[in-house]
């Protein structure tokens, strides 16, 4: 990942990052220190605090997402994405089970999206890297 020219390396992003607060190192670690290697763009929580606070106006979220698309994903992300492609939902719930869960709270049944719809919309072919 190229370090963005607009980044002032001021470290503001690190101070507002909720991941850094719990001891994780997300993209902000790299922005504050381009030589850092102990960070992962997959730890970002998409809370947008770093970008909102950035005095240099760096599009940190977009940088982070672009880098993710170049890297192997952690198992949790991979599984959720495969599930979206297969059934349209990040966590697969069979229609019958969903209806039962809803009925237990007096909610009407809902129709799930047709299988394969998300795969077609995203133009994902079998064997695509993603």
């Amino acid at each position: 990942m190229n370090h963005p020219d607009e980044c002032l390396q001021c470290g503001t992003c690190v101070t507002v990052c909720p991941v850094e607060m719990v001891g994780g190192h997300a993209i902000v670690t790299f922005l504050a220190d381009p030589d850092a290697t102990d960070y992962s763009v997959w730890l970002c929580t998409s809370c947008w605090r770093c970008q909102e606070a950035c005095p240099g106006g760096v599009s940190i979220y977009e940088l982070m997402m672009e880098q993710r698309r170049r890297e192997e994903a952690p198992a949790g992300y991979r599984a959720a994405f495969e599930s979206v492609l297969a059934c349209g939902l990040a966590l697969q719930v069979p229609q019958e089970e969903l209806d039962q869960m809803r009925a237990a709270w007096g909610l009407e049944p809902t129709r799930l999206p047709p299988p394969g719809l998300a795969r077609a919309l995203l133009c994902a072919e079998d064997g695509d890297r993603w």
């Binding site: 607060m21 001891g23 998409s46 909102e52 994405f81 995203l122």
Partner: protein
Amino acid sequence: MPEYEVATRAVLRALGIELEIVQQATCCGSPVVESFTADWVYLAAYNLALVEQMGHSTIVTVCGGCTNTLTRAARVLQDPDLRAEVNHRLESLGLSVTGRVEVRHLVRLLAEREEKVRARIVHPLSLRVALTNPCQVFRPGDIMGFDDPMEPQSLRRLVELTGAEVVEYGGEDECCGATLYLASPDLALAAGRRKLEAVQEADLLLHGCGNCQLLLRRFQRMIVRDERNLRKPALLLPQLVGLAMGLPEGELGLREGTWR
């Protein structure tokens, strides 16, 4: 999380708003789909197109991720070239999208009706509440266009309307851990633990997003284990508001007498 929908419907019904479910909606994609493909907007646009097909001008969301993704999708769909490409792909489904649908998170919907909510409060709550702001509802500020993006106040004001006292614990804008769970369960539970340790003075946790509720309620036992003093009840915003409106627990997705 059907109880979230139950409570949302009950509270909005009391305010004269009936919700209609978006049939065949998919996952909005946040933040998963965008992490794999720049085409994430096609999936978000599909969901917006379903709303337009229903003839509605507003979609109500109860999750920060959906709110953020759908709002940003509606924004980028204002580009006529992208919109044409998206509509080309939606055509085979008999759908089309303008991107003019308003995306309203429940916090915003209620905050914009503060006086109406206030008028319905008949049973002020004597509870001490520790809230977590749903992170994706307020940022990026120039696109979400609601509240202070770094120090949002609307959720706090809504909780105060119920009569409950908001306990300041310093972690209101810290991570619940839910999204972290996809990449690092250990860090996710550490984030949840940090909150539980910080909110000891509060009677309960209060959330405006299903992801926060998932990690801090459903996964709470993975954090607490045998440290029972860390345990804390967790409610969703419409459950708290509904209780203050005097709605029965059973109509708010709460098992009677067991949520405290």
